[in-house]
């Protein structure tokens, strides 16, 4: 009997499978074949797609983020919202601004994060995010805790330092999308100077900002002034002198400002040259 069954399976395998109820339904067979055919076609088209994709990807900075999580997040937003992400981000920004007027730090921060996640392209969002985190929120916290009189200095300094580092982190995040943007680098310099009292670091960032073509005229002067304040006057003079020599297109007021600062630095270096 067993021998007869084995012979039947060997001679008519498809009918045996069908009789046992093991046959794949037709729709499933078709679906599997379709998937396989698409996979073969997709693999064949892979090299063409890869060549084109490398060029397209290079044009989208939000997909070239170092962290995979960030890149995936941006990718989902870009894939689903497409051209509408700008308007969605704008409305989220309006909501964030409304929360800012109410001095609600948790809501402001959440909405700012959402704004820059949805559309990281406008520099405006990053500038305001850095300012709100580093400058506005510590003042709200200070008022909440009773102002300068109500809060001990050590606690106040710790609180300002905390928010300053939040602002710096936001600036670093923004620089991933806008690497050649001098204003974000300037904000870092401003935070180091006014919130963290690290003038040397602030000077370093002002110099970085000044080195970018098209940056503001006063960045180099600010760097030199801060270097002078930390006792590196010779370095300040050499830097500003070289920068001024290479500059073009200054108006009369700007030119006079540079010359005055150079004279002041030079006077500090060699007092006998004070009289021109």
């Amino acid at each position: 009997m067993a021998e007869a069954a084995r012979r039947e399976v060997a001679q008519h395998p498809a009918q045996w499978v069908k009789a046992q109820g093991l046959a794949m339904p037709l729709w499933l067979k078709r679906a599997v074949v379709v998937v396989l055919l698409l996979a073969v076609a997709g693999a064949a088209l892979g090299p063409l797609e890869k060549r084109a994709w490398m060029q397209v990807r290079a044009l989208q900075p939000e997909l070239r983020l170092g962290e995979l999580e960030g890149a995936l997040g941006q990718g989902v937003v870009l894939g689903l919202l497409g051209g509408f992400r700008a308007i969605v981000a704008d409305f989220v920004w309006l909501e964030a601004h409304s929360a800012w007027e109410e001095h609600d730090p948790a809501r402001v921060e959440g909405l700012l994060d959402m704004t820059t996640s949805v559309d990281p392209r406008p520099l405006f969002f990053w500038q305001n995010k850095v300012r709100m985190l580093a400058l506005d929120m510590p003042m709200w916290e200070l008022r909440r805790r009773g102002g300068f009189q109500g809060m001990p200095e050590a606690a106040r300094r710790e609180m300002f330092t905390f928010y300053a580092h939040r602002g710096l982190a936001a600036a670093d995040e923004g620089l991933q999308f806008h690497p050649d943007e001098p204003e974000l680098i300037e904000y870092k310099a401003m935070i180091y100077n006014t919130r963290l009292s690290d003038k040397a670091k602030a000077a370093e960032f002002y110099r970085k900002a000044a080195a970018i073509p098209g940056s503001r005229v006063y960045f180099a002067r600010a760097a030199a002034a801060l270097l002078d304040e930390v006792g590196r006057t010779q370095e300040a003079y050499d830097y500003l002198n070289a920068y001024y020599a290479a500059m073009t297109g200054l108006n009369a007021v700007q030119d006079a400002g540079y010359q005055r600062q150079l004279r002041e630095l030079k006077a500090k270096l060699s007092p006998e040259d004070l009289q021109d």
Binding site: W53, F84, F124
Partner: protein, 278 residues
């Protein structure tokens, strides 16, 4: 052969005429026109991005959204109408080959999408041109050098978007060949389109260290679905202020990729439809 071409032409023409008479098409067109036209109003809410960039992004976002709805729903509707009304049986008994039937329907939908894209792109180009002129008058030569639009690039971009919509339509035709109900075909087609939009993320994730099994699954996934994000090249083609441009070689590669995928979906769709009982 000549008869097959004539049948193809007749089917495509009748499909196109039937489609443009449908209220759904008028509704989608009206919504699209309204959205593109309102880009001028919504620019009041723009913060930081250049005006023309915002209008361009918003306009083409609307065109893509309504275009993809039209591509899916019109394809399913025009196909299933023939089957539900039994006119497909009459046609196929003429005889009209099943491949000619599917291809004719697809060409009709392609013509519909071409009309849609042409109308919407013309409207958006008009809106952009008027705003550009106003900005140039206000900003002068400095603005003109930095912010001008590339209208030739806009035409190429519109053609690429049309090809992208055709890929979605061809994918829909494949789903329709497999599906037995209208609603199922629409839902699965929209899902396929969304997966196509997000599919490039699978490639990015696959570059990370993953297990062999997961890596194989991701690879299979990336082969089955087309990469629709490849067509997202508006900034490089149209906006000079973007700084970087895309060469015609890359545009041709993207267009070629789309056309090849259309062919793949249609060939497989015809093969499935040939084995289907009506």
């Amino acid at each position: 052969m000549r008869r097959a071409f004539r049948q193809l032409w007749l089917l495509a023409r009748n499909t196109f005429v039937e489609a443009v008479r449908q209220k759904f098409f008028h509704f989608v067109l009206l919504l699209g026109v309204g959205l593109v036209g309102s880009a001028q109003f919504f620019r009041q809410f723009d913060f930081g991005a250049s005006e023309l960039k915002f209008i361009f992004d918003f306009g083409f976002g609307g065109i893509w959204m309504f275009g993809s709805i039209l591509a899916v729903v019109a394809s399913v509707q025009l196909f299933y109408n023939e089957i539900e009304q039994r006119t497909a049986l009459t046609l196929l008994a003429k005889p009209v080959y099943r491949g000619v039937f599917v291809l004719g329907k697809f060409l009709g939908v392609a013509a519909l999408l071409l009309v849609f894209m042409a109308l919407m792109t013309s409207l958006l180009a008009g809106v952009l041109y008027l705003r550009e002129q106003a900005l140039m008058e206000a900003g002068g030569k400095v603005w003109a050098a930095e912010g001008a639009m590339d209208y030739q690039g806009l035409v190429f971009f519109a053609v690429l978007q049309w090809v992208r919509l055709l890929v979605v339509a061809a994918m829909t035709f494949l789903m329709v060949s497999l599906s037995s109900t209208y609603l199922y075909a629409v839902i699965v087609s929209f899902l396929g389109m969304m997966i196509g939009q997000l599919r490039y993320l699978v490639q990015e994730y696959g570059k990370e260290e993953v297990s062999v099994v997961l890596g194989s699954v991701l690879k299979l996934f990336s082969w089955v679905f087309p990469n629709l994000q490849l067509f997202n090249v508006g900034e490089a083609l149209v906006l000079h202020s973007a700084g970087e441009t895309l060469g015609m070689g890359a545009v041709a590669q993207i267009g070629g990729y789309g056309l090849l995928y259309i062919g793949v979906f249609l060939v497989i769709g015809v093969w499935v439809f040939r084995g289907r009982e009506l």
